[in-house]
Symmetry: C2
Subunit: 398 residues, 2 copies
C-alpha cells in the first residue's frame, strides 16, 4: 500500500483561516469597534426572484410521482445546456450542446479536468493567482512553472515563447487581480498554445462582470476551440456560491494524440460524477431567462459599483491598483513598500477594514492587497472612509 506521496508536497494554505483568526482576535480585543469585511470572495445578496421561483417549482415537482426526477444526464439536462448555449451565442460564440457540461461549480472541474492529462505535462500558472491551480497540480506531481504578474504588465502576463508548458492556466477577469485580458492578448496565448500543442484551461468564473468590448469567453478568439477548455460558474454570476452550479466547455475539435478531449471528459464525468441536482439545474436555467438575466445583472452591477467606489477612492489617494472595473476585485499596492500582512494588520487595527493579503496568492502577491465589492453599500462606504482617513492621518503615499 502506497499513498499518493505528492500530498506531502502540498503547502498548507492558511490564508483565509489566518484572516478569519486575526479578525476574530481584533473583535475580542475591541468588542465595540466596527470591522468592515472587504476581503471575502463570497456574495451577500440573496438569490433573485426568478431563481427562487424556479427552485420552488422544482421542489414541488419532486414531491409527486408523475413529475419526480431520478438520475439525470451526467452532463446536465438539455433545458439548462440550451440556455447556456444561447448565453454564449450572445457573445458570438457558437457551441454544440455536446460541448457543454453542467457541473457543481468551477472548483470541482478545475480539479477534475486534470484527470485527462498525463502527470508528465508541465503546467504554467500565473503568479499571483487563485491557489487551487497550483495545489491540484501538486497533488498530481506535475511540474509547475509560473508566469510573473506585476505592475509592469498590469498583472496580465503574456506568453514567453521560450517557456515549454503544456497546460496553461488563464483566469480573466483575474482572481485576485481583477485584471481582464483583451482579445489581442488572449490571441497571443491561443497562438502560443497551438504552436506548442498545449491546452489552455480558461477560468471564466468572473465573466459576468465584464462590460464594454472585453471578452467574456476565450472562444471569442480565433483558434481557441483547437486548444482551450473553458470553466465557468454561476457562483458570482447569480449568487450560487451556496447552490453549487457551473459549466465547462470542451470543444469537439479539441484533440490531442488522436483522442478527443470532449469524449474523454464525457467518459470521466459519466464514470465519476452523477450530475447536478435537478432542483439546482432548474434554478440555474432560470438565471438565463430574460427575467433572470435582468435580476442577476442588477446584483452584478451592484457589486461592480461597490468596486468602482473603492477604485475611485484609491485613485484619489494615488494608490496603484488594477481591477475594480470588470471585476468585483480590486488589487492594490500596499503603501510605501509595506508587506501584505503588515498592511493587513495596519488596516485592520487602525481602520477596522479586513481585506486579503496578496502574499496568499503567490510570491508576486507580496506587497499587494485584495479588496472586494461583495459587501453591502453601507459597509463599503464606511470602509472607504476609514481607509481614506488612515492614509491621511498617517500621511501614507500610494
Amino acid at each position: 500500500m502506497q499513498i499518493n506521496g505528492n500530498y506531502r508536497n502540498l503547502q498548507p494554505n492558511y490564508l483565509f483561516s489566518t484572516v478569519t483568526k486575526r479578525v476574530a482576535e481584533e473583535r475580542r480585543r475591541h468588542p465595540g469597534k466596527p470591522i468592515y469585511r472587504l476581503g471575502v470572495g463570497d456574495v451577500t445578496l440573496p438569490l433573485c426572484p426568478a431563481v427562487i421561483g424556479a427552485l420552488g417549482k422544482a421542489v414541488e415537482e419532486m414531491s409527486a410521482a408523475e413529475t419526480f426526477r431520478g438520475y439525470g444526464p451526467e452532463q446536465g439536462y438539455d433545458f439548462l445546456r440550451e440556455r447556456i448555449q444561447q448565453y454564449y451565442a450572445a457573445f458570438g460564440v457558437s457551441l454544440d450542446l455536446e460541448e457543454i457540461f453542467v457541473s457543481d461549480g468551477a472548483n470541482s472541474d478545475l480539479g477534475n479536468i486534470l484527470d485527462l492529462f498525463s502527470k508528465e505535462n508541465t503546467a504554467l500558472i500565473p503568479d499571483p493567482v487563485y491557489p487551487v491551480y497550483l495545489d491540484t497540480n501538486t497533488m498530481d506531481g506535475r511540474k509547475v512553472l509560473f508566469m510573473d504578474g506585476g505592475e509592469e504588465n498590469d498583472f496580465l502576463p503574456l506568453p514567453d515563447p521560450s517557456v515549454k508548458a503544456d497546460l496553461i492556466y488563464l483566469c480573466s477577469p483575474g482572481n485576485p487581480t481583477g485584471a481582464v485580458y483583451t482579445r489581442a492578448m488572449l490571441q497571443s496565448w491561443v497562438d502560443y498554445a497551438r504552436a506548442r500543442g498545449g491546452v489552455i484551461l480558461f477560468d471564466a468564473a468572473y465573466e459576468s462582470f465584464v462590460t464594454g468590448d472585453l471578452p467574456h469567453s476565450i472562444y471569442e478568439v480565433e483558434g481557441a476551440k483547437e486548444c482551450a477548455i473553458e470553466i465557468s460558474s454561476l457562483s458570482k454570476t447569480a449568487g450560487f456560491t451556496g447552490m453549487r452550479c457551473g459549466y465547462t466547455v470542451v470543444p469537439r475539435t479539441l484533440e490531442r494524440e488522436g483522442m478527443s478531449l470532449n469524449r474523454m471528459w464525457l467518459r470521466r464525468q459519466t464514470t465519476k460524477f452523477n450530475g447536478v441536482s435537478y432542483v439546482v439545474q432548474r434554478g440555474a436555467a432560470a438565471v438565463f431567462t430574460p427575467e433572470g438575466r435582468r435580476q442577476t445583472g442588477e446584483a452584478t452591477a451592484f457589486y461592480r459599483e461597490n468596486a468602482a467606489l473603492i477604485a475611485a477612492a484609491l485613485r484619489e489617494l494615488g494608490v496603484w491598483f488594477t481591477g475594480g472595473v470588470c471585476s468585483p476585485y480590486i488589487w492594490m499596492a500596499c503603501p510605501e513598500g509595506m508587506g501584505s500582512w503588515e498592511f493587513f494588520d495596519l488596516l485592520l487595527r487602525e481602520a477596522g477594514v479586513a481585506g486579503v493579503p496578496g502574499a496568499g496568492f503567490g510570491r508576486n502577491g507580496e506587497g499587494y492587497f485584495r479588496l472586494t465589492g461583495f459587501g453591502s453599500r453601507e459597509e463599503t462606504c464606511q470602509a472607504i472612509a476609514a481607509l481614506q482617513e488612515l492614509y491621511r492621518a498617517r500621511g501614507l503615499a500610494g
Copy 2:
C-alpha cells in the same frame, strides 16, 4: 503535451444504453404491447413530505439576505453531519464529526477517493460488480485483480491470503447481486486488509435495505476503523438519485505511511470540491429526523416488498437467485445455461419484461440476470405473472 493514456484502456460500457435501445426497438415493433421495466436501478417514488418541507424552507431562506447562505464548509454543514453521526450511533458505530464528509453522491467519492492512493497499488474488485470500480482504476492505470463471485460462495467472495492487493472494494448489500456480507465475513476482510496494510473501500449505498442482524456499516466490525473507508448515499435511502447527496466516512485512525487519510481527504475536498448545495443538505438532514426516517423507511419497505414478491415467484419456479431480501436487487440464474443477453431478449420479447443482463457487470455475471424492486407494485406483479407464464409455457427449468 501528453494525455492520460490510460483512457485508451477503458472498455466502452454499453450495458444500459443497449438495454434502452433494445427496449425501444421492441416498443417500435409492437406498439401496443406492455413492457414492464424491472431493470432500472433508479427509484420511482417521490421525495417524502419531510424532505420536501425542508427543501422548500431552505429555498425560502435563500431568497432573503438575512438567511441567505453562500459558501458552506466543503465537508458539509454540521446540522447534517450531526444527523449522520446519530444515524451511525443507532448501529452502535461511534463517529467523530470530522470523520464524516458530505458529498454529492457515492459515485463522485468512489472516483475521487483514488486521488489519495498511489497508482502503483493493486486494486481487488469483486466480479460481478458495479462497473465504476474497474473504470476508475483503469483511468489511473492501476493494476486490477478480481475476486470471483459465484453460486458456490453466494456471490460473496472471501479473502484469499495469497492474493496481494492494496485497495479492496466491497459492496454490501451488493450491486448487482443483492447479497449481504455477515459481520463474520466482513471481519475476515478487515483481518486480511490489516494484515496486508491494505485499505477497504466499502460501498454502503444500499445499507438502508438491510434488515435483521446483518451489518449496515463495516465499522460494526472490530478493527475496521484502522483499514476502511465507507462510502454511502441517500440515493436509495431517500430517493435522492436526482437530488445528489451522500457521505463518506474516513476514520481519524486510518493512517498509511505516517499520513492521515482523513487529513488527506479533507485537503482533497477543500481543494477540489466546494461542498453540496445548502438546499440539498437541508433536504438530506430531514431524511434523518424521526419523521424523515419513518417516511423514507416506508418507501424502502415498499421496494423491498416488490423484491420479495419477485423472489417468492423465482423460488416457486425453482430458479436460483440471491438478493431480494435486504436489497432492491434480485440476481437470478438464467434458465438452462442461457447467456445473459439471450435471456434478456427472450424475456423482453416473450414476456415483455426488461431486466439487466448480468454479463454487463463482469465476466462472472454471464449466465445471470438482474431484476429490481424499484417499479410500481402493479408493474412488478404484472412482470412476475408474465415471467411465470413464460417459464411454464416454455417448460423452462430454473
